[in-house]
C-alpha cells in the first residue's frame, strides 16, 4: 500500500515538475511503484488464503462499501476525467514526460489521449494481474481475464499506435458502431475510404462486425463474447472495477432507469447516424442544422460525461458497470440480440436455490439473479454480460452459464412451481 501511495505521489510530482528529465524520472518511477505495489497488494490479499470465492468483509471495508475511502477514490477518479476532458493543460508536464514513449510507439508527440490510453491499459494489465491471482481457481475467469488484457494491450493500445507510426488512420479494431458511434458516420467512412486499401478494409471490418459478426457471435455465445471478453470498457470493469462489482443497484427502481436510459440512447445514436447519412446523401437539404447540435450533444453527454466521468469515476460508489448497464448503446444492441436471438442463458439447477443472495450481490450489471434462481427459472436478461461471477459465488452449485440449445431456453425447473407473482 505504501508503494501505491508513493507511486501516486511520484505521478503528482511528475505532473507538477516543469523540468522534463526529472518529470520523466518521476513518471516512470511512479508507474513502477504503482504497478508493483498493486500487484504485491493483490498477492497479499489473495495469496495467503486458499483459492476460492471469499469476499470476507466486503461490505465492511470503507473502500468497498461506499465508505470514506470509496468517496475519496471516486472524487479523485472523477477529477482526473474532468481535468482530462476540459483542463488538459493541467497535465501538460505529465504529457510531455510521455513524449519519448509516444515517439517510439507512434512516431509522434504525446497528447492527453495517449496519456489516458497508457494509464487505461496499465490499469487493465496490472489489475488484470490481480484478477488472475484472485480467480486462479476458475479456468473460465482466467480465460476471460487474459482475453480482455490481450485485447486492450494489443488492439486497444499497441495496434492503433503502430498504425499511426505507419502513417495510417488510428483505428480500433475492437470497437464497433454503435459504441464507437462515429465509425459509421459518413464523414469517417469517406475519410477511411480515401485512405487506400487499409482504409477500405477498416470500413468493411466496421460494417461486418456491427451487422454480421455481432448477431452471429451473440447468437452462439450471448453478449459476453464482447462485453466480458473483448471490449475495453468491459475490460476495465472486469479488472480495475472487480472490487466494486457488488455495488451495482439490484432494485426494481434501478432496472426501470436502465430500461429508460439505455434503449433511448441506442435509439438516439441510430437516428443520428441515419440523419447524417441522409444529410450526406443530399436528399434533404440543411439537415446539418439538426445533426450538428445533436452530434455535439451526444458526444458531450454520452461519449464524455456518461462513459467517462460517470462510467469510471463513480466505480467506487455505483459499481463497475454503470456505463455498460445504463448508457452503452452497443450493450443495448447486444442485449436485444441476447434476449431474443441467442442460445445463451444462465441455467438454474433444479430446486437447489436457498435464496441467499450471493449471486445477486456478485452481479455487476445489477441483475437480481436470485429472483430467477429461487423460482427455478433460467436467467435470460438483456443486461447479462456473462462474467460468470454469479455461478462462482453460488454456494450450492445452482447456476451455470450455458450456450444452448435454444429449445427449452426459457423453461423453468419442475422442482419449483414458479409462482406467477411479478418480480420486476
Amino acid at each position: 500500500m505504501a508503494a501505491v501511495a508513493l507511486g501516486l505521489l511520484a505521478l503528482l510530482a511528475a505532473a507538477a515538475d516543469a523540468d522534463a528529465a526529472r518529470a520523466r524520472l518521476s513518471l516512470w518511477l511512479g508507474l513502477t511503484l504503482l504497478s508493483g505495489g498493486a500487484l504485491v497488494w493483490a498477492w497479499l490479499a489473495f495469496g495467503n488464503r486458499e483459492a476460492g470465492w471469499h469476499p470476507h468483509d466486503l461490505w465492511r471495508r470503507a473502500s468497498t462499501s461506499r465508505g470514506a475511502v470509496a468517496w475519496v477514490t471516486g472524487v479523485a477518479l472523477t477529477g482526473f476525467y474532468v481535468v482530462l476532458y476540459w483542463f488538459p493543460w493541467l497535465l501538460e508536464n505529465l504529457i510531455r514526460a510521455f513524449d519519448p514513449f509516444s515517439q517510439v510507439l507512434r512516431h509522434k508527440a504525446a497528447d492527453q489521449w495517449f496519456l489516458y490510453g497508457t494509464f487505461y491499459t496499465l490499469a487493465v494489465l496490472v489489475l488484470g494481474g490481480r484478477a488472475l491471482w484472485k480467480y486462479r481457481f476458475s479456468r473460465y475467469h482466467l480465460a476471460r481475464t487474459v482475453s480482455v488484457m490481450f485485447f486492450q494491450l494489443g488492439f486497444g493500445f499497441l495496434l492503433p499506435g503502430l498504425l499511426l507510426a505507419l502513417q495510417q488512420p488510428e483505428f480500433y479494431f475492437t470497437y464497433f458502431w454503435p459504441l464507437k458511434y462515429d465509425y459509421l458516420f459518413p464523414s469517417t467512412v469517406s475519410q477511411l475510404l480515401h485512405g487506400g486499401g487499409l482504409g477500405v478494409f477498416m470500413v468493411f471490418w466496421g460494417v461486418a462486425m456491427s451487422f454480421l459478426a455481432t448477431p452471429v457471435l451473440t447468437y452462439f455465445f450471448g453478449k459476453r463474447w464482447y462485453c466480458a471478453w473483448v471490449c475495453g470498457c468491459g475490460g476495465l470493469a472486469e479488472t480495475a472495477g472487480d472490487a466494486y462489482r457488488h455495488l451495482s443497484d439490484k432494485s426494481r427502481q434501478a432496472w426501470r432507469w436502465e430500461v429508460r436510459l439505455v434503449y433511448p440512447i441506442l435509439g438516439l445514436i441510430v437516428v443520428l447516424t441515419a440523419l447524417l447519412w441522409l444529410g450526406a446523401s443530399g436528399l434533404v437539404p440543411a439537415l446539418g442544422a439538426v445533426t450538428g447540435p445533436l452530434g455535439q450533444f451526444y458526444g458531450f453527454a454520452i461519449g464524455s460525461v456518461f462513459s467517462g466521468i460517470v462510467g469510471v469515476g463513480f466505480y467506487p460508489l455505483l459499481g463497475s458497470r454503470v456505463w455498460c448497464r445504463f448508457g452503452c448503446p452497443m450493450a443495448a444492441y447486444l442485449g436485444l440480440l441476447q434476449k431474443h436471438f441467442s442460445r445463451f442463458r444462465i441455467s438454474t439447477n433444479g430446486g437447489q436455490c436457498i435464496s441467499c443472495g450471493n449471486c445477486s450481490n456478485a452481479c455487476e450489471m445489477g441483475i437480481d439473479v436470485k429472483q430467477y434462481a429461487q423460482r427455478g427459472e433460467p436467467i435470460v436478461r438483456a443486461a447479462c454480460v456473462g462474467c460468470g461471477l454469479c455461478a462462482t459465488a453460488c454456494p450450492r452449485g445452482v447456476l451455470s452459464l450455458e450456450n444452448g440449445p435454444r429449445e427449452g431456453r426459457l423453461a423453468g425447473s419442475t422442482f419449483i412451481h414458479a409462482d406467477s407473482l411479478r418480480i420486476l
Partner: protein, 445 residues
C-alpha cells in the same frame, strides 16, 4: 377467506405466495416475531462474513408484499383459540382466521449442559443469534463449537474468517457420521483441518465454566479436559418450536402432528415445515423434516390444500446440498452412511482431495439409487430422471457428462471416474461413449 400464517420463514412465505397465486381474493396475513420481512435463514452466515448486508438476504424487495396484498404483522403470536378461530398477538391485538397455518420453525436444541446459560454460550438459528454472536465474538481469540453437523461447520467457517482459533468438539467418531459415508467424512475432516480448525472427534462437552461476571471462561470435555475459551457455539441440532401449538392444545409429539394433507388436530389448522411431524411418513422418510427445501415444498403443498385443492404431501426424490468451507456438496436420491445389504457403492476421489463422487446402485439390477458429490456440481433434473427410471450404472457412467453442471472450462473428470469404476468393478461393463459438455455437445441424455 382470511388465511393467517404464523412464521415468515421459507415455509410460511412459500405458502403465502403460492396461495396468492391460487386465490387472488383471499386475505393473507403473515405473522412473525423475528423479523419484519422474510429473510433467507441459510444466508445468515454471509452477514457475519461481511459478504452481504441484511437487505441482500431478503429474497424479495419490500414493495413485493404490499403489491401482492400480503399483510405483514411483526409481532409475536402468544395465544391461539382453535374454537373461536383467533390468534392473540403480544401487542394485545387479536386476529380472526378462517384457516391457519403454523410454520413456526425450530428452536435450538441443547443437552442441558451445566453452565450453558452463561454469557457467550449460544445456539445459532435466527437473527437474534447472529446479533449475539457478532457482539460476543468481537475481538476474541478462541472459540469452541460443539456438534458435528452443518451448523457446526458454518460456525467454524464464520469464526475462522475473523482469525478466531476454533476448537470443534464432535461426539461421533467422524464428521457428520449419521449422514455421510466414511470417505466423505474423511475428505471433509482433512479439508476442515487444512483451515486450521482444531477438529476433535469422539469428544463431548460436559460443562461450561464461567467467570465472576457470568461470562464463559472455559469448557470441560467428558474426558475431563478443561479448555479455556471466550465463546461457545452450540450446534447440536434444532427441535420443532411448539410453544404456540402446545398452548392451543394441539396434538404434538416431537412436532405438531399432521396428516398427509398437513392438517393438524384442530379444524382449519395446518402445520408445515420444521415444526410439523408427519403421523405417517412415507417409507424410508423421516417424520420431522428440518430442511430449507422440504420447508419450501411443504409450504407449496399446504397452500394448495388451503386454497381448496387438497394435495397430499409427496416429497419426491431426496435431494440436499451444503458447503463446507470451500467444498460444495450435493446429494440426490438416498446414500446411506453405512454399507447396506443389496447395495453396491462406487466412490471416486480426485488425488488432490477436492473432488469426490459416490454412486450407489442395486446389486441385483445395477439401477442407481443415490449420489453424493463433493467439489463437483451435478444437474438435478438429470439425476432425478436417472433415479426415477432406475437407470443402470453403466448407462449413467457413459452419460455422466450430461449431469455435469460445473462452470465452463472446468476440468472434466468423467474419464477418470469411468477408469476408477472399471478398476473397482472389473466384472461390470462400462459403455465407452464419452459425452462432453460444451457448445456442440448435446446437453441432455
Amino acid at each position: 377467506m382470511h388465511l393467517v400464517i404464523i412464521g415468515n420463514g421459507i415455509t410460511g412465505v412459500t405458502a403465502a405466495i403460492t396461495a396468492r397465486g391460487l386465490n387472488a381474493e383471499a386475505r393473507i396475513t403473515l405473522v412473525s416475531a423475528e423479523s419484519a420481512h422474510h429473510y433467507s435463514r441459510p444466508a445468515l452466515m454471509y452477514l457475519y462474513l461481511g459478504h452481504l448486508r441484511y437487505a441482500d438476504v431478503k429474497p424479495y424487495e419490500d414493495w413485493f408484499w404490499a403489491e401482492n396484498r400480503l399483510e405483514l404483522v411483526h409481532a409475536e403470536a402468544t395465544g391461539l383459540d382453535t374454537a373461536a378461530r383467533t390468534v392473540q398477538l403480544a401487542t394485545g391485538q387479536s386476529l380472526a382466521y378462517d384457516k391457519l397455518l403454523l410454520a413456526t420453525g425450530s428452536v435450538v436444541r441443547t443437552a442441558g449442559w451445566p453452565g450453558q446459560q452463561l454469557r457467550g454460550v449460544q445456539g445459532f438459528y435466527g437473527l437474534p443469534d447472529l446479533e449475539n454472536m457478532s457482539r460476543a465474538t468481537q475481538g476474541i481469540r478462541h472459540a469452541v463449537v460443539v456438534g458435528g453437523g452443518l451448523i457446526g461447520v458454518e460456525l467454524a467457517e464464520m469464526l475462522h474468517s475473523r482469525g478466531i482459533r476454533v476448537t470443534w468438539l464432535v461426539r461421533e467418531a467422524r464428521y457428520w457420521q449419521s449422514v455421510l459415508p466414511p470417505e466423505e467424512s474423511a475428505l471433509l475432516t482433512t479439508h476442515i483441518r487444512c483451515h486450521g480448525i482444531d477438529f476433535r472427534e469422539n469428544t463431548e462437552l460436559r460443562e461450561v465454566l464461567g467467570d465472576d461476571q457470568g461470562r464463559v471462561r472455559a469448557i470441560v470435555t467428558t474426558t475431563g479436559q478443561e479448555l479455556p475459551t471466550e465463546w461457545v457455539g452450540l450446534a447440536t441440532g434444532v427441535q420443532p418450536n411448539l410453544t404456540l401449538a402446545r398452548a392451543a392444545g394441539l396434538e404434538t409429539d416431537r412436532g405438531i402432528l399432521v396428516d398427509t394433507w398437513l392438517e393438524a388436530s384442530a379444524p382449519g389448522v395446518y402445520a408445515a415445515g420444521d415444526c410439523a411431524q408427519h403421523r405417517q411418513p412415507a417409507p424410508g422418510e423421516v417424520a420431522v423434516e428440518q430442511l430449507w427445501y422440504t420447508g419450501r415444498m411443504q409450504g407449496e403443498t399446504v397452500a394448495h390444500t388451503l386454497c381448496g385443492q387438497p394435495t397430499p404431501y409427496r416429497r419426491g426424490q431426496w435431494f440436499n446440498s451444503a458447503k463446507f468451507f470451500n467444498l460444495e456438496y450435493q446429494t440426490y436420491g438416498r446414500v446411506p452412511a453405512q454399507p447396506t445389504a443389496g447395495l453396491a457403492s462406487f466412490c471416486w476421489q480426485h488425488p488432490n482431495g477436492k473432488h469426490l463422487l459416490r454412486i450407489n446402485f442395486r446389486q441385483a439390477d445395477h439401477a442407481v439409487t443415490g449420489i453424493n458429490a463433493l467439489g463437483l456440481r451435478q444437474r438435478q433434473d438429470v439425476w432425478e430422471r436417472w433415479l426415477a427410471a432406475a437407470t443402470p450404472i453403466d448407462t449413467v457412467l457413459a452419460q455422466l457428462a450430461a449431469a455435469n453442471f460445473d462452470a465452463e472450462f472446468s476440468r472434466q473428470h468423467e474419464p477418470a471416474i469411468r477408469r476408477e469404476f472399471a478398476r473397482q468393478f472389473p466384472d461390470l461393463p462400462v459403455a465407452p461413449a464419452a459425452r462432453r459438455r460444451g457448445l456442440f455437445g448435446a446437453r441432455l441424455g
